[in-house]
Each structure stands twice: as C-alpha cells, then as structure tokens.
Symmetry: C2
Subunit: 315 residues, 2 copies
C-alpha cells in the first residue's frame, strides 16, 4: 500500500522546524493522500498509511502499561442516561453530539418524507435515542464498573472514538478521533499515584518517539461565564496536565493529558473503596490521531521512512 | 491478557451444534467477559480478546483483496448533506442516527440548564449537526470520489463503524459495529464482475474459517408499506446476496453481503465512466463483529484455542 506522496511532501523537516501554520500542514496531509477531506469541516477519512500509523500509536500507548490490567475497546456512542449523569452536557454543551432516531410508523414516515421534500431536516419527527456520541472514552467506562472497587484499586486501558463539535480547518482538531486512556479508580492516594507515575512516563515515552513535548498545567474548556471559573479552579487545583508539542507554528497542540477527577465520577456511579469511602479516579489519555500527526509533522509524511529508532519504538 | 473464561464456557461446541438461542449465546459472551453490556440495549464495550478477534477478522477480510487498491478507514460519522442525498433517511428512517449539537451562547446555555433541571433532554435548544452517524461505510465513500471514474474502474477497501438503531438482546444485532467493504465503481460490466467474483470468494473465505455459510438472495429492510415493494423489487432483480450462518439456533445471521447498486449512488454524486455514462457501483461487505461472533460460537469462546488452521488463516 503506497500513498501518492511526493518526494518533497514526504521529506522530514529539519529538526526544530515545523509547518508554518495549520493550513500548510493540512495541505501537505491532503496532498499526500493521508487524510481525505469530507463535506463536513474537521471530518476526515484516513488512508491506509495514516490508519496504520494510528494503530501503531495505539498499540505503543497500550504497551506503556505497568501491569497486565484489562483492555477495553469502546464503540463511538455511549448510553444517553450515563452521559447525562456525567454533567458533560452542562459543562461542555458546545462540544457534545446528541443522537436522535425515528420510532414512528407509516403516518410519521409520511410526515418525515413531506418534511424532507419541503427542504426540512426531519427533526420534528425524531425522538431522542438511547445513545449519544462518546465524549471521552473513560466517561463510558465508569458507569459499567462494579461499584465495589478492590483494595489494590482498579486499572484498565480503554480505547475508542470520541466526538468533539469543534469544526476547524486545523487538522489536529478533528470532530471524530480516537483516544487511548489508562484509567485508575481507587483511593485518593492510588489515583494520585497513577497521575504521578503517568505524567513523566508519557513525557518520556513521547520523547522516545522523537517528539519535543512539554508538560503544562491545563484546564478543560468549560463553557460560558461560570465555565471560566470552573476552569480556573481546575487549573489552580492542578487536576489536569497536558503534554504539548509544536505540530505547526500557529499554536501548540496537546497530544496527551493526565486528569485527576477526585470523586467526580465516583459520586455519580457509587464507586466505593473497601474502607467505605467514595473512590477517586484519574486517567492518562493519549490522543491517537494527534500523536500520529505530530510524528508525520516531525519525521515526514512517509511513515516507512521515519527514523529507525522511532519505528522500532512503535513496534 | 486473559479473559475470565471458564472451562465450560470456553469449550468449542460439537460440530454442527450451536447455541440454543440468542439469550444463551449472549449469556455465554457476557460470562466470558468478551462483551461488557451497557445501559443501552445492543450497545457493548469489547474486551481486549474480542477486539483482537475483530481486528484479525478485519485484516483477514482486507487480505482477500485481488489487487493493491487503496484502503480507507472511516470515522463513525458522515456529513449530513451526503447522508441526506443518499435517501437513506427516506428508505430506512428507523435505522438512522441523526446528530444534534449546541451552538448557542450564555442565554441558550441557561435555557439548556433549566430544561435539564426540569428533567428534559435539552433537545429544544439543539441544532442539527453537520454530521450524522454512519449508515454503511461505502455510503461515506462515494461522495468523496473524483467523479471521473477511470477506464479500469475504481476499487477500494473501506472499513469503519456503522450505526443501526435496532435495540436487541441478540448479540449479533449491535447498535454500533464495524464493516469492511471492497467497493467497485465502474461500468455496469465491471460492477457486476465485482459481485460475481466476490460472492463465491467470500463464501470460500468464510468456509476456510470453519464457518458453514450459505448464499441467499436478500433485500435491504426498506421501511413501511412502500418499502415492502422496494424490497421485493430488489430481491427480484438479484441485487443483494447475503452470506448466512447459524450463530445460534433462534435464526440465521447474515455475516456478509454483496450489493449491486446499479447507478443509485452515481446519479447522486455524478460518478461517470470515460464513455460518458453514469457509473455503476457494487460492494462486498464483511460484518466484522458478526464474523468474530460466528467464530466464537463455532470454535469456542477462547480465540487462543481456536483450531490451528483457523488461527493460521486469520494470520
């Protein structure tokens, strides 16, 4: 499987340089056939080469695991009831994707056809589905856990598609992308230790792929006026850190993060440690497309020509 | 990575037998930890072992390719505009998943929070998104093609998640699942030849995995009264065939299909052959989770213990 990469597009950039801006990087990716644009801004189909790179990154990110804990692969939707419980729609309404379905009979079908004929979008005859688009893979996991968290804490690896409604021409900002997360639920000490282990481990791992990452205190993009306060609190409490890299010179890109949720998810889903207290949770999250894009930016658009040590590291 | 499979649950069934019904098969899969149920009927998280089996099936289904044509990996959503053009919402309204998003400011956010506080689902303040859930992977491909189809026809392999709103306790009927399709767009003769090559090739390939498949004339589940006529026409014109296997004894399951679309998609997206005529298209589709489930039913719930020749065939 070869992609129609030209000699120029495929050449690695000199160390320390990167694409001038998002538009230049996007053009290079499309010209090389690595991403196929669609009619929706920020939604791409992936070439075989791009997909192979993402899956290599996924396997590599999983292999950083410290123990043989379970892996889970998640579908791109999660139950609406679980999603509403997480308060994601309240805190990040602008990023969410809500699903509707048609549950009518012949009469409603006629109404739908009439609405479509009149140039409508059929939404008047649709009902809320049992599912919504996945917000972040670990959000889908907590509601499925046995609430009795064992003594040693619970760790698992989860991977799958997430949706963010952020239409953008910057290729690092896709509407639909994959994340792999190492999740921990346990005592506060166990959840904090998870973060403290993973933050340097992620930085070192990404460094071994030839990426110049820096660790930054960060916050989630809470919506609106109240959201700005929540974001400031989150940053002040050191709950979120990002692994940041320059994929293009327009602005830095987070390609991974660690998140310490305190008891946010445990309250909702009754996750309890053997001492009878609410559990705490945390995750170390790898943005799989973003890491693949960082590698393409850093080492050139032909994965087969990436440095030997990077390819060996990726397995 | 070991799953908590018991000796009994993991044992292969005697040849020619299968689970008594969907409920028995579902229980066995959940007990073995291969699928993790969620709050939404027919939506599952996959264990590492299950996911490995699905990806092995995906690689195997791709390897049956006859030429080195391009591969594409698709996100689980497609542009709404493309989707509406395919008429899927008219023909299969009951299966579709339509996405809404929030595009408001602080005032609309307040309205959203009030609605959620009152037990609502927020749908009154949502707007149609630029995307919808993918119906079938090949539907996402046609709108992105260069409409000038080359002399030799165009072939590609496409893989990704599809959504069908068919909540069911039968584990073969998932709301969110993956398909791999070998797609052909070309002259009517090229598209027909694609079908004629793939139908026996799929049957033989699935047979080499130890599955007792039969080929059946089939139709798509067109909705409603008019739909019944469309389905009958489709079957009479021999446009769809399914590869069917007994995963459990309740009813047979289609694990693959060939579809000859005539000029249905070419009319919509102006796909034209060099003679100036509308192209015809066809696809050979593998249901990846369903094939994995068929293998688990046939060869036992521990993929590591499947017959050597099956594991060799899967690579």
């Amino acid at each position: 499987m070869t992609s129609p990469t030209t000699e120029t597009a495929g050449s690695p950039r000199a160390p320390g340089t990167c694409y001038a801006d998002a538009a230049a990087f996007r053009s290079a990716l499309l010209d090389a056939g690595l991403l196929v644009p669609t009619a929706a801004t920020g939604l791409y189909q992936r070439s075989g080469d791009f997909e192979d790179a993402v899956r290599a990154v996924e396997a590599w990110a999983g292999s950083l695991r410290l123990d043989a804990y379970p892996r889970r692969s998640l579908p791109p939707i999660l139950p609406r009831a679980d999603f509403l419980q997480t308060d994601y729609l309240r805190s990040f309404p602008d990023l969410a994707g809500i699903v509707s379905v048609f549950t009518g009979g012949d009469a409603e079908h006629r109404a739908l056809l009439e609405d479509l004929d009149a140039g409508g979008n059929g939404s008047t005859v649709l009902e809320p589905a049992e599912t919504v688009l996945s917000s972040a893979v670990c959000h889908s996991v907590y509601p499925t856990l046995d609430p009795a968290i064992p003594d040693e804490g619970l760790r698992l690896e989860a991977s799958g598609f997430a949706f963010r409604h952020e239409p953008s021409l910057d290729p690092v900002r896709m509407q639909s992308f994959r994340m792999l997360e190492h999740v921990c639920v346990g005592t506060p000490a166990q959840a904090e230790a998870h973060r403290d282990v993973w933050l340097p481990r992620m930085a070192e791992g990404l460094g071994s792929l030839g990426l110049d990452v820096r660790i930054e205190a960060a916050n989630d993009p809470f919506f609106g006026r109240v959201g700005r306060m929540l974001a400031a609190n989150q940053q002040q409490a050191s709950l979120k850190h990002e692994l940041v890299v320059d994929i293009h010179d327009e602005k830095p890109t987070a390609i991974g993060s660690t998140n310490y949720h305190e008891d946010h998810f445990s309250v909702l889903f009754d996750l309890t440690t053997p001492d009878g207290n609410l559990a705490h949770s945390g995750c170390a999250a790898f943005g799989l497309e973003r890491i693949a894009l960082a590698l393409l930016s850093r080492h050139g658009l032909e994965p087969g020509h990436w440095p030997t040590e990077v390819r060996r590291e990726l397995g």
